[in-house]
Symmetry: C2
Subunit: 406 residues, 2 copies
């Protein structure tokens, strides 16, 4: 019953000159919405070409997973002639072209001013580590903003790094939003836009958005660790009788009542409230008494299997979820109809589990497309997008300025 | 030298009916780019109104931090007359209106089909927990995708939850990207778009984008914990002589050489390579020998202060960053010129540290704007956006359908 296919950006051309997670994940989000994204790499590939995880043959599963549905141009943009081709591609004419995303540092970098010389309404976003250009990666940025000090077991004396490069992903999606916002303006006013986006700013901005910066500033110190407890409310994990574990959360009064109903503990907590001077319908008191609540509920979970826990919590409409090993998560996702996870035939790899973008347009997931081999689209980009002749393309190959797939 | 102010979305109207982090952070990203975002709440506020962190007077720092730069309409959309007003607002005419973001569940929810009856080219994104509509929050989704099993100290026997609601933020920014992509299509083809976005899909999609789903599927089990070591390369934390700690990363051969140069360990590792049959210029071998590398480097850090470590690593252009307490991160950010963090005057709070959006348009950070008080814009939305008379507005107040600020 919903309108519109999965390709709202059909016809839009993005040139991406980026490596690792942030830039490439942003470009890929636009490709998954139908944009024609040309990823540009050096002929030997970027620093991320062989990144782990790898398959049994040592092929990177990371690179194809971050470049699904793009075209690949292998080009030595560190040499003047290659740089000139990149500049031409990034400033190609038309309302749906002239959009450039990069995180290139150093001499090879195309600057916004160079782009606007060729195309005054160019759109450019430059992704970097620190706002001044100093390099930084997700793990150094996360350390610098104070999150590892708040993470992990309560009695753990050292910072705990996150494993998910959360800042990279958020940065990439912010870049995608920024490019589309600039394109919106170009459509309305004809103006171009040059933007800088630093990973460190992404992290500061986000923790500020939770009120955490304000809190730390008022307190004069960072927040202590609370283990697996959800801050400011009630949420924690419980082991079950069959060796599984569940995460249970009660943010709202309704969720709290459902949890009490499911576990038959309503009367216990009702008796506890006057005894402890608490009102457990409030998040503040649930948080204050989190360890007491946890201790009261723990035996209920410890004496029931996951299946029993699941049935009772669902019946009461409590908010919860099981912990899963990632391989179990994959199996479940592959078995689900209309899942964002499926097996694709990936050039260079063979059958590979891959994920689609999470936006379901018209209600359905759009199946993932494979990634190109490095340089797979070099010749077609040079001929179709840049209008070069076969002879010119041959010369560029001979000079090592461009490369096809190995 | 760069074109364009910080408001590429000036003139665009977004109606947001959402609570907690995911939806509101997506709407706020658009507000930070200049859109006029009207957040709609029940007259008493949503379930997130009082969320922690709070200030010394118990006022939520969370709510204003997630609603900066929006307008606030307090409206009982659970009653038919209020629901009708919400529908009228969400389907207002004009090329820059008719864009609706929600995560409302149950009977009150506006469906895409209702929107398109009023406005065939309506744009709608519905944010939910699980793709089928079952509720889920960041912490249950994170458990379900397997990340807590990979997080934390190597010898820790239980899952470690992240504290940052990373999936919520990524979901919100994905919603922002989706809305702008749909708006792009409406501009090109006149078509509207209805989209569903589930938090669980956001998580599956992202871990798939790192190749982690493919890896877990091949291995038949999730990845083991590696403590603070960066997976598949070299990166780990080191304590310094003055009780500080740094995160050091070497993903590329150049970063590895810089680290060896800074610490004077080049010859040690050169001698180690043939002895252990390793090539430390490769990420795979740096990861395989991570604990050996760590053990060799640790004394160098342990005998130097943060200032000494900093000087040596920077001089060699190594990739590293200090761990900071969040209050130290705030102080540094407030002292920096052109920072994304500043102190604003927040209605209902007073002076409050707040963050701007991370996109620097034309090179500069856009200062953060305060959030509205709940219901601060009720009357202006009703009169200016919906064209209601003062009499009608008064009647709606009397009937409790709408509310102004408390």
């Amino acid at each position: 019953m919903t309108q519109g296919s999965g390709t709202p950006l059909a016809g839009l051309r993005i040139v991406e000159c980026a490596t690792f997670v942030a830039g490439p994940s942003g470009g890929m989000a636009l490709a998954q919405l139908g944009a024609d994204v040309v990823r540009v790499d050096l002929p030997q590939g970027g620093g991320d070409r062989g990144r782990w995880p790898v398959d049994a043959h040592g092929n990177s599963l990371y690179w194809p997973s971050l470049n699904k549905g793009k075209r690949s141009l292998a080009l030595d943009f560190r040499r003047p002639e290659g740089r000139e081709l990149l500049l031409a591609l990034a400033t190609a004419p038309g309302p749906d072209a002239g959009v450039y995303l990069d995180n290139v540092a150093g001499r090879a970098r195309l600057r916004y001013e160079e782009l606007t010389e060729r195309r005054p309404d160019a759109i450019h976003i430059h992704v970097q580590g620190m706002p001044g250009g100093k390099p930084a990666v997700d793990y150094t940025v996360n350390a610098g903003v104070g999150v590892p000090d708040m993470t992990g077991p309560k009695d753990h004396g050292a910072p705990v790094n996150h494993v998910l490069p959360a800042w990279d992903f958020l940065c990439g999606m912010t870049a995608a939003t920024g490019l589309l916002a600039a394109l919106h303006r170009r459509g309305r006013t004809g103006e171009g836009t040059g933007m800088d986006l630093a990973l460190a700013d992404v992290a500061l901005s986000a923790v500020g958005n939770l009120g955490w910066l304000a809190e730390a500033h008022l307190a004069g110190h960072g927040r202590e660790r609370h283990g697996n407890h959800t801050y400011g409310s009630f949420g924690v994990d419980f082991p079950t009788a069959d060796g599984r574990r569940v995460m249970v959360v009660a943010l709202t009064p309704g969720q709290w009542e459902a949890l009490c109903r499911a576990t038959g503990t309503g009367e216990v907590f009702k008796a506890l409230e006057p005894a402890l001077g608490a009102d457990l319908s409030t998040e503040a008191d649930r948080f204050r008494l989190r360890e007491t609540i946890e201790a009261i509920l723990r035996p209920w979970f410890a004496t029931r299997t996951l299946a029993e826990v699941s049935a009772r919590l669902d019946e009461a409409h409590a908010l919860w979820g099981p912990y899963r090993d990632m391989s179990e998560a994959v199996r479940l996702a592959l078995d689900e109809p209309d899942s964002v996870v499926s097996e694709i035939d990936q050039p260079g790899i063979g059958p590979m589990v891959a994920s689609a973008g999470p936006l379901r347009l018209g209600g359905s997931a759009v199946p993932p497309r494979p990634a190109p081999l490095l340089g797979a689209d070099t010749d077609s980009v040079l001929s179709e997008d840049l209008g070069l002749s076969a002879g010119e393309i041959g010369r560029l190959h001979d000079a090592g300025i461009v490369a096809g797939p190995a």
